[in-house]
């Protein structure tokens, strides 16, 4: 983990309030693993007060730049939206553990809701470029076509790709969880793992489907972060161990990816 002052080298706006920022940092690019994130001081003044965590969406081949896919929702992401090429950003990263690459199964299902698709791009590129024989299957959901801004970038990286939109403007009309449910019969549970990232209700639903079929399910959690580096204990997720004793683990340091079966989901919003 490093603190860097990184230059924005490209910036692209998408319909639906999405933004891709690419910044230069060979330190972060070299160290980055799929599912890790960075924590950005979006505004040196006090609005917002805290840094904002954003997943590493991708790292370029030369490992010089990192790209982020951002949904503009509030003051922090608005500040990022106003960053221009050439501006400097104060960034901590890479943070967290990312996806456990040892948990990749021959069939690995990437289930994404909305902006949750972001970390799967670098994961897919890494797996596609790796030596293990792993089939990736992307299930990406959103309210509308505009909520899948990175869909085309997955071209050639996954074995299969399915989209679902609530308004039917792209892919199947409906929820991505329904598409997933329909497909699960095709996969041998022993050869399958689910990685999931999206809104909490969607991740819970995916987990319910997964345990129903006996498939391991890993979820990437989103909580409000104070420091992003394991110090404040503000970002915790509640977990239970085998004998149901409760503990609190840091999403930033011990996560953000957790085995969903460990979670109580308490206070996850």
């Amino acid at each position: 983990m490093k603190k860097v002052i990184a230059k924005v080298v490209s910036r692209r706006l998408f319909d639906g309030g999405y933004l891709r920022l690419q910044f230069e940092s060979d330190e972060i690019a070299h160290a980055a693993k799929p599912g890790q994130f960075v924590n950005i001081l979006t505004n040196p003044s006090l609005k917002p007060y805290l840094r904002r965590p954003i997943s590493i969406e991708d790292v370029d081949n030369d490992k010089k730049t990192v790209s982020l896919l951002i949904k503009v929702v509030g003051p922090g992401t608005q500040s990022l939206e106003s960053a221009q090429v050439g501006d400097q950003l104060d960034i901590l990263g890479p943070l967290g553990n990312g996806f456990d690459m040892d948990s990749l199964a021959p069939n690995t299902l990437l289930v994404a809701g909305g902006i949750g698709v972001a970390p799967f791009l670098y994961l897919s590129r890494t797996v596609a470029g790796g030596s293990k024989e792993i089939f990736l299957h992307l299930y990406a959901g959103g309210a509308s076509k505009a909520d899948l801004p990175s869909w085309d970038d997955f071209h050639g990286l996954t074995a299969t790709r399915k989209a679902a939109t609530e308004d039917g403007s792209f892919g199947k009309k409906g929820l991505v969880t329904d598409v997933l449910k329909n497909d699960l019969g095709k996969f041998d549970p022993k050869q399958t793992t689910i990685f999931c990232c999206g809104p909490t209700p969607m991740m819970k639903a995916v987990f319910d489907i997964a345990i129903g079929c006996g498939i391991p399910c890993f979820v990437s959690l989103e909580t409000t972060m104070g420091c992003g580096i394991g110090s404040c204990l503000g970002c915790v997720a509640q977990i239970k161990d085998q004998d149901d004793a409760i503990d609190h683990l840091r999403v930033c340091k011990d996560g953000p990816v957790f085995d969903a079966s460990r979670l109580t989901w308490e206070g996850m919003r």
Partner: protein, 303 residues
């Protein structure tokens, strides 16, 4: 170059900038950013005798220029601290002050008792903002009698620094500060967080699972400065100013109002280097203004 050393009791700190408890983990975690022996002191995350899992999430909520937290004193417990953190802190040559608390007076005693067997600690900071279970959950730091007794008890156990950390959530800070002095404290640190709350209108729920939380950050700086100034006017004891410090200017304002040292809290979240940078910028300020020693700033307010 200005002399940045300051003294509390017999102890000399390399500079007056400490990292506030709960905002700098156990200290050693920041060694990967910078040499933590270069800051005045590391005030550890609050330590209890047994580990504590703390409050359910959500635990954080941003407010205007501030941060509400309800961590619930989660910590690894004094035993794990001694086993896992102390050896590294000693190796790093850090100036460490253990922030300690308990749910009753005995709880404080047991933590200090254990730490007394550990080398490499400069002292203890007693967190008196936490709930006194035997007194119905009202915090220790609201009752002068309890503050005095608790301080005296810890004082009798150690030759190390005993620093009493006060809560600002009281009608009158002076009797409490006096009690800390009477109990034999070497210094007072102030303030801990202000009791606050936030509402999630959309969900019609408290933003924190614990409903109430502690407010920190720039929003509380005026209250913290007032508390330091009030105590400095009335009580002859070194003070450590805490609350909303973001930069060297803020830190120097606390010193001018009466503080001998300062602690940087939530600002560490915005910038993990802030303690180090603030100490450096304070030195630059002193040099620019031809002030030979930072200690001269303490209580230099003209009124």
């Amino acid at each position: 170059m200005a002399d940045m050393r300051v003294k509390i009791g017999e102890y000399e700190f390399v500079n007056p900038v400490g990292a506030a408890s709960g905002t700098f983990a156990y200290g050693i975690e920041y060694q990967e950013f910078f040499d933590i022996s270069k800051i005045g002191a590391v005030f550890t995350k609050g330590l209890s005798y047994e580990p504590i899992i703390g409050n359910a999430p959500p635990r954080l909520h941003e407010t205007a220029s501030g941060l509400l937290n309800s961590i619930g004193l989660q910590n690894i417990g004094v035993e794990a601290f001694c086993a896992e953190k102390m050896p590294l802190l000693r190796e790093a040559n850090a100036t460490v002050i253990a922030n300690v608390f308990g749910s009753d007076a005995d709880g404080y005693k047991r933590v200090v008792d254990r730490l007394e067997r550990e080398d490499g600690l400069a002292g203890y900071e007693l967190n008196l903002s936490c709930p006194n279970v035997k007194a119905g959950g009202i915090s220790f730091g609201t009752d002068p009698k309890i503050v005095r007794a608790l301080t005296a008890q810890i004082r009798s156990m150690t030759k190390r620094l005993v620093i009493v950390k006060l809560t600002p959530n009281v009608t009158d800070i002076i009797p409490i500060a006096q009690a800390a002095k009477d109990g034999g404290a070497d210094a007072i640190s102030a303030v801990n967080t202000l009791l606050g709350m936030a509402v999630d209108l959309k969900k019609r729920r408290p933003a924190l699972a614990n409903v109430y939380g502690g407010l920190s950050g720039p929003a509380i700086k005026p209250v913290a400065l007032r508390v330091i100034h009030q105590i400095y006017q009335k009580i002859d004891l070194p003070l450590i100013g805490i609350g909303g410090i973001r930069d060297a200017k803020d830190a120097l304002e606390f010193m001018v109002a009466g503080a001998t040292m300062v602690q940087i809290g939530a600002q560490n979240y915005r910038d993990p280097f802030s303690t180090l940078n603030i100490a450096r910028d304070m030195e630059k300020y002193l040099d620019d203004h031809k002030i030979p020693s930072v200690a001269e700033m303490t209580g230099s307010l003209i009124s």
